[in-house]
Amino acid sequence: MIETLQEWAQNRAFTEWTGTGSLWWSILVTLYMTAGTMVLTVLLGLPLGVALFETESSPRPAVRAANRVVGFVVNVLRSFPFFILIIALIPLSQLLLGRSTGPNAAMLALVIASVPFAARLFELNLREIPAGKIEAVQMMGATRWQVIRQVLIPEALPGIIGSITTTTIAVIGYTAMAGSVNSGGLGQLAYNRGYTGYQTEIIVATVILLVLIVIAVQWIGSRLGRAVDHRARTA
């Protein structure tokens, strides 16, 4: 047992600090892809979620029609298996970024997959706000923008943080699949060295690390969510 561990510790993935073969470097690449994807997902997904919520029962037929079209696109993107999506997007990343491999190319696919996912979750978070609270503020003479800024976002914030947490964890899972376009990161390391290269120690190490990262993300998300939640605790 001890001998196996000592032998495992000699693996270059653990002793080297940089390069796609290094475990430590791969952790950074995975965290970079996840963080970058999530920043873009919140910046794009939150406005999209608010837009879906706000336009759903607009009195103007044109706005409602736009809502249906965008909703349809969101549904289509959400039903794409990520593995297929990332391959289908190779020409697009080639066009936009000049290359179809590496973490940035993978992030393009990650963002396109996670924005619709997060937007639907944000839309659900907004739906949970009682209509009376929104109307109360409208009756004070608030503009639509004031309602969004002062009611929708702050009242839904505990739920929105929960949705960001859930999306982040899903994105961590997707980054592993992004290894198939040579994105780098823990997923690619586990596949190339661990699975294809019969290095069990690398599979074990990446799985443990991914579990720890997910637990940490969930813990931070739950703490943040509770910190901003001033709703009554119902038994």
């Binding site: 109307e135 109360a136 009756m139 004070m140 608030a142 004031q146 002062q150 901003v228």
Partner: protein
Amino acid sequence: MDASLPDVITLDGLRKVFPAPGGGDPVVALDGIDLHLDAGRIHGIVGRSGAGKSTLIRCLTGLEKPTSGRVEIDGTDVAALDGAALRGARRNLGMVFQHANLLDSRTAAQNIAHPLEIAGVPRAQREARVAELVELVGLSGREHNHPAQLSGGQVQRVGIARGLAAEPKVLLCDEPTSALDGGTTRQILRLLADLRERLGITVVIITHEMAVVREVCDTVTLLQDGRVTQTGDLVDVAADPHGPLSGELIPLPPVPTGVVGTILTCDYGDSGTLRTSEDLVRAAERHGAQAQIVAGTIETIGGRQVGRVQLALRGADGRPAGPELLAALTAELTEAGVVAREVAA
């Protein structure tokens, strides 16, 4: 109504028709409402659910456009406004809701300040006004709590303070006490009456609770099937035995079972000569009947005693009073201004 007080709310032929969802007959929620509510008083608007109360509120606040008619608040026709003008007009109207509808993400003080924030009042002025309001509604010491940390009564106090924050002409209360227990209800109603005294604000209370109307309202309006079926000063409405509201404002307890006699309900609030229930008993005895009071409600509304009793009448033979006796007694009572009706056994 006192003619010296100007109207602060005037509804003129207000109609609201909703198209039926399935393409059937349209739903007439408000069917031509004419109503004048004068300034500085507490007005009660009562009606069962489905009578049109909610639609009326939504038309008053401009959340719903009337199909036709005028909704004038402090001289401005809200129904004709849109966009920024409507948002400005809404500030003349403070709203208080059944469940307060406070934002959980804000403290009591931040909720109270919200209408001022929307109106663009500078922070220093906002804070001064909030401090004043916290004091006014009796919330000192709790202003930095979130709504979830407050009791139902305290939450509603925050709701009232928020409604008053932008110094509206009218405080419109939608079932303000329906979610509260009896003791808290009385405290909130006392607060509303007190605010009217101190600020001279017009209060409109929309409710299904007759007790609320009895306790604080100066006028009462009954809404039935989208129409006003009775409106006037509370004293007059309660004392009018012919109107639909007096029965609900002065409800009778049920007649005990096992009573022998013909039951006669008498409203004597309007009578100049028969002022008490004993007067009624004596009048019956003059006709040779034995009369027993089996149920009764006597209330003093606006300094005037309004009463309704049920008499069990028996003839000299101890059997339920016959039709001749009843006709003679009813005639005398009617003459004296009492409204008497036989209750079918």
